[in-house]
Symmetry: C2
Subunit: 393 residues, 2 copies
């Protein structure tokens, strides 16, 4: 599926001309293809996002342990923030008083907010499915709340991100078929409600396809969600416990089913090999908490997908940098020995420096992938990453 | 004691010409005086330190939550690291393998290490005073160790800081007189042993005067320690529980007793008003963990000595910067509302941003004081700080 030079047919013609978008100030162009992999360009009111692109996650309006100016330095183009958490803390009105998330977290580039759906379904507490939405308990104080498509749109309009997500029911492929089907139906109904409720013309609304790893349900969800019609599409309910081969087969199916001229977003994938795998199947944008979360437990990601646990005693006197060929501040400045010291002594600086490095690994991975796609040597790039990955750790 | 224009007499003549130092690559000059306050210049092999100067504390070879490049940006000139902690973790040999602390923590400016004495006497565990030193239990694993003047010198030579401290017995003014006297005697004996044991010509060795707040003991300790003879002198055993007026009276006494042409270091003072008070009594250098420790509990220092507890609900929707007239990254970039959000949500970024600000407050305070002393308007500066301090909080 990564044969360089084999042109994808579906939608290719329109795509190269640049896709019209309903959102004001937005445009998306697929600039190059190599096999199913795509190099694209998303124009937003807060700047351009060149794809493939990894989005650092700032759940509570902060990419953990990283300053906005450092995100810039690392090459981050767009940052993700979380509707659920920000709705409860500090509350939508406080973010809105800052003119939205850009003013609140002081990141002046593009921002994407998720819909809160994933948290409503994945965080602890008793949920009650209702026709109009989901009733759940806040993780902050246990108070009961109802999230509806309309509320998810309202919150995201107040938060003011450039790219916002439809409210969906994230249904893992491990669910029984009837439940999966119910989730697909609900997701379609809510997608239409979101589209109807969304009023801000300067926000790109992304539709989410569900269906687990069941081909029929995926086909149905894709048909229904594209039928509602969105500027961009996300693949939901993947990378949440299903088998890897089923996940990849589903992404391949999505590549076939989604319009080729629209941005595609795979939610929640953060290991380099996994990212390359879905990139090779036509996905443009990715996000994951993995790089910063791993950093806080003292683990460094390596460019090829291997990992270094800096608590390991073998690094105690290791005077080499984390990665010799990495251009991040951490690798340019400090030894593994020093980083291990910070990690084992629970110094905050350890989390900071590893977060910088881990984010740089993924940001550079997607940027290198983009160059490879444009140069028609993506297959070579993929095999290099796989090779480095198996040698790492 | 802060009358501008009143020239200090003792040692003034030599001081203005620049004091010879036994350590290679070092020189200290008192460039200006205003009352007892001094503006000086310490040349070290790793750069110049202009005084008065606040030293950020990097206990375990990391100024908590702050990167070395940020220390530079904040105007830090010299950083303190801790002999006791580094001896146990990562161990002296690992730091030495990096060519010393400069290579280990990647701070290429001047570094000062304390002697470990304060930790040996203040950290939990059973201590046994011996003729040759102190036997104690490591806070890391409870193992028994003996610190002697010779070992304190050896460790500090291996750590390779520019400025190192004699091994003393830190004796608070609250101790009974016989114990205080024993500490003075021991400190003198150990000071001589340190001077004899110290071999590196490229390190400035600082003698420490003890004696609590007892005038006779201070006089005796000052006479004995200056009798041993050092390139610079520290005032120990202050700011550790004694009354403020007694502490200040003791500093005034020290100003009279210590040679005027030598650098003077007050160990462990970090509140702006306190710093100004001892600066007004002829002290050149200060250090304290206060700014970074307060940052980690969500408290901002204000330039005048007031404090803001950002957990307070009154900042929830406060869109103003922490301090309007502060030039740090935090104040130039974020609102109090956002900082409060980070602090209450326990985001690491909160500790980072408040650490930057709190350090900047003290670094700017001492740098402003220097300008005021040179301009002969230190009294005005002091009353401004006191005024701002009483208005803050």
């Amino acid at each position: 599926m990564t044969d360089a030079g084999v042109e994808q047919t579906a939608g290719g013609a329109e795509a190269s001309a640049g896709a019209p978008m309903t959102a004001k100030g937005f445009a998306f162009t697929v600039e190059a293809r190599d096999g199913a992999a795509r190099a694209g360009r998303l124009v937003t009111p807060h700047g351009v996002v060149e794809t493939p692109c990894f989005m650092p996650v700032g759940t509570k309006a902060s990419v953990k342990a990283v300053q906005p100016r450092e995100l810039r330095e690392l090459g981050a183009q767009i940052v993700l923030a979380n509707t659920y958490h920000l709705y409860f803390r500090p509350g939508t009105e406080i973010v809105a008083a800052h003119g939205g998330l850009h003013g609140f977290m002081r990141w002046d580039g593009p921002i994407l907010t998720d819909s809160g759906g994933f948290q409503v379904f994945s965080l602890e507490g008793t949920r009650v499915m209702r026709d109009d939405g989901v009733e759940f308990s806040s993780v902050y104080d246990g108070s009961r709340h109802v999230f509806t498509p309309e509320l998810a749109m309202h919150i995201q309009e107040e938060l003011g991100a450039d790219v916002i997500m439809a409210f969906d029911q994230c249904a893992p492929g491990t669910l029984a078929l009837p439940e999966l089907e119910a989730a697909v139906e609900r997701t379609t109904r809510w997608a239409a409600a979101c589209k109807a409720a969304h009023t801000r013309p300067d926000q790109l609304l992304v539709g989410i396809v569900q269906g687990g790893v069941d081909e029929d349900l995926r086909r149905r969800s894709a048909a229904e969600i594209t039928g509602v019609g969105f500027d961009a599409y996300a693949m939901g309910g993947l990378s949440v416990g299903e088998r890897g081969d089923e996940m990849l087969a589903t992404v391949e199916l999505m590549d076939e089913l989604l319009p080729a001229d629209r941005l595609r977003y795979f939610m929640g994938i953060g290991d380099p090999v996994g990212i390359v795998d879905v990139m090779a199947r036509g996905v443009d944008v990715f996000d994951c908490v993995l790089p910063t979360r791993m950093a806080r437990t003292g683990t460094a990601m390596l460019r090829g997908g291997g990992r270094l646990n800096l608590r390991n005693a073998r690094f105690a006197a290791d005077l080499s940098p984390l990665e010799a060929d990495c251009d991040c501040y951490t690798c340019r400045t400090f030894t593994r020995s020093y980083l291990r010291h910070l990690v084992t002594q629970k110094e905050i600086l350890g989390a900071q420096l590893l977060s910088l490095h881990n984010l740089r690994v993924l940001l550079r991975l997607t940027s290198d992938a983009r160059s490879a796609i444009r140069a028609g040597r993506f297959a070579e790039f993929v095999s290099n990453v796989a090779e480095r990955g198996s040698a790492g750790g």
